[in-house]
C-alpha cells in the first residue's frame, strides 16, 4: 500500500514541480503530468503502427496509391498544416505567458489556438465534401480508405483537443486554480495532434 502511494507520488512529481512557477531554463522539467504523457506516448505508438501499416499497403500497389494521391488538393493540405502549426505556436506561447504570470495573455493565446483548431476542422470538412462530391469515397480504393480513416481519427483527436483546450481555458480563467501542470498537459496533447498531422500530411499528401 505504501508502495502504491510512492509510485503515485513519483508520477505526480512533475505536477508538483511545475506548480512552483517560472524560470526553468537549464533545469530538467517534465511538462504536464505523467498521466498525459502516457496518453501521448501511447497514442504515438498506436498511430505509428497505423502509419507503418499504411506504408506496407502502399508498397503493395504504389502506382494506385500515387495516382489516387494526385486527386488530393495539396493547397488545402498545406493550408491545414499551416493552420495547425500556427495554433501550436499560439498554445506554446500561451504556456510561456501563463508561466510568466500573464494569465490574460495566456487566455487570449489559448482562444486563438482553439480558433485555429476550429478552422482546421472546417477546412477538413470542406476538403472531404469536395472529395465526396467528386466521387472519391471510403470504398473507392485502399488509398481513400486510409485517407478517410486516418484523417477521420485525427479529426476525432482535434475535437478532443478542443475540449481539452476548453479545460485549459477554465483553468486559466479561475484565479483559484491556474495549475501549471494542467495547462502544460493540455498543451502537450495539442502539440501531439499537430505532430500526428505532420506525419499524415507527409504520408498522404506529399511523398511519391
Amino acid at each position: 500500500m505504501a508502495n502504491a502511494k510512492q509510485t503515485a507520488a513519483d508520477f505526480d512529481s512533475a505536477a508538483a514541480s511545475s506548480v512552483t512557477g517560472t524560470g526553468r531554463q537549464g533545469t530538467v522539467h517534465t511538462p504536464g503530468d505523467g498521466h498525459m504523457w502516457v496518453m501521448v506516448l501511447g497514442d504515438l505508438i498506436i498511430f505509428g503502427a497505423y502509419f507503418i501499416i499504411f506504408m506496407v499497403y502502399r508498397a503493395m500497389e504504389p502506382q494506385e496509391f500515387l495516382t489516387s494521391q494526385e486527386h488530393l488538393n495539396i493547397n488545402i493540405g498545406v493550408l491545414n498544416t499551416l493552420v495547425l502549426l500556427a495554433s501550436s505556436w499560439f498554445i506554446a506561447r500561451s504556456v510561456q505567458a501563463a508561466r510568466a504570470g500573464d494569465h490574460a495573455r495566456a487566455l487570449r493565446l489559448t482562444y486563438l489556438g482553439g480558433l485555429c483548431g476550429v478552422a482546421f476542422i472546417l477546412i477538413k470538412a470542406y476538403e472531404w465534401s469536395t472529395k465526396i462530391a467528386a466521387g472519391y469515397t471510403i470504398s473507392s480504393n485502399d488509398y481513400f480508405m486510409f485517407y478517410y480513416m486516418l484523417t477521420g481519427v485525427h479529426l476525432f483527436h482535434v475535437s478532443l483537443g478542443l475540449l481539452i483546450l476548453g479545460v485549459m481555458v477554465r483553468e486559466l480563467r479561475n484565479p483559484r486554480r491556474r495549475r501549471m501542470f494542467m495547462v502544460e498537459s493540455g498543451a502537450t496533447y495539442w502539440h501531439m495532434v499537430d505532430l500526428l498531422w505532420i506525419v499524415i500530411f507527409a504520408l498522404l499528401y506529399v511523398m511519391r
Binding site: T137, S139, N174, R176, R177
Partner: protein
Amino acid sequence: MQILAEAEDLPKTANIKTQLISLWTAPVFGVVLLIAFLAFPGFFPPMSPDMTAEQVARFYSDHTAMIRFSMITFNLCGVMLLPFFMVIVIQMKRMATQSHIFAYCYLTAAVSGATLFALADIFYLTAAFRPDRSPELVMLLNDMAWMIFIAPVGAFVAMNLLLGLAVFFDDGPNPVFPRWVGYYAIGTALAMAPAAGAAVFATGPLAWNGVVSFWLRNGAFALFVVVMFVVLRNVLHRQAVEEGVAR
C-alpha cells in the same frame, strides 16, 4: 449554471458535473442521430412491408453507400444516448418518498431498449454488406431489422410507465419532477405502445411503415428526449442550488 468557487472540488459537485456531461451528450449526439435518420434512404417514406424480395434487394444495392453511412452512424452514436437516460435514473433515485425500485427497473428497461436498437442496426448493416446475396435473404435480414427496430416497444413503454409512476409516488413537499412530467411520460408510453402492432400487421397505420408505428412511435421518442432534456436541465439546476453547489 454557475458552480460556486468554494464547492469546486466536492464530491457533490462532481455528481452534478458528471450528470451535466451525461445530459449534454443528448443534444450533441441527438443532432448526429438526426443526420443519420435523415440520411437513411428508406425512411422517407419508410420502406413498405409490401416490397417484393427483388425490390428490397435492389434498394440495398442502389443505396448501399447511404445505408451504410446512416447505419454506421447509428451504430457508433445510438447507444451514446444511454448516459442521458441514466440521468433520469439518478433523479428518480433522489425521490424522497419512495424506495429506489422504480429507478432500478427503469435502468434495466433502458438497457433492454438500447440492446434491441443495437441489434436492429447490425441487421441493416449485414443486409447492406453483401446486397448481391439471394434477394430472399436480403429481405429476411431487412424484415428482421425492421421488426426488431419498430415492434419491440415494450422496454420504452415500461420505462415511461415507471417514470410516470415514480413521479406520482413522489408526493412529498419537494418533488424532483413537476407533476406534468408524470402525465407526459405516461402519454409517451401510450403513443409508443401501438407500434407493437408492427409485429402482426403488414398494412395500414400499424404496419412498420404506418403513421402510428413509424412516425408516432419515433416522433414520440424524439420529442421525449427533447422535452426531458429541458426538464432535466431545470431539475439539475435545482439540485445544484439545493445542495449548495451552484447559484
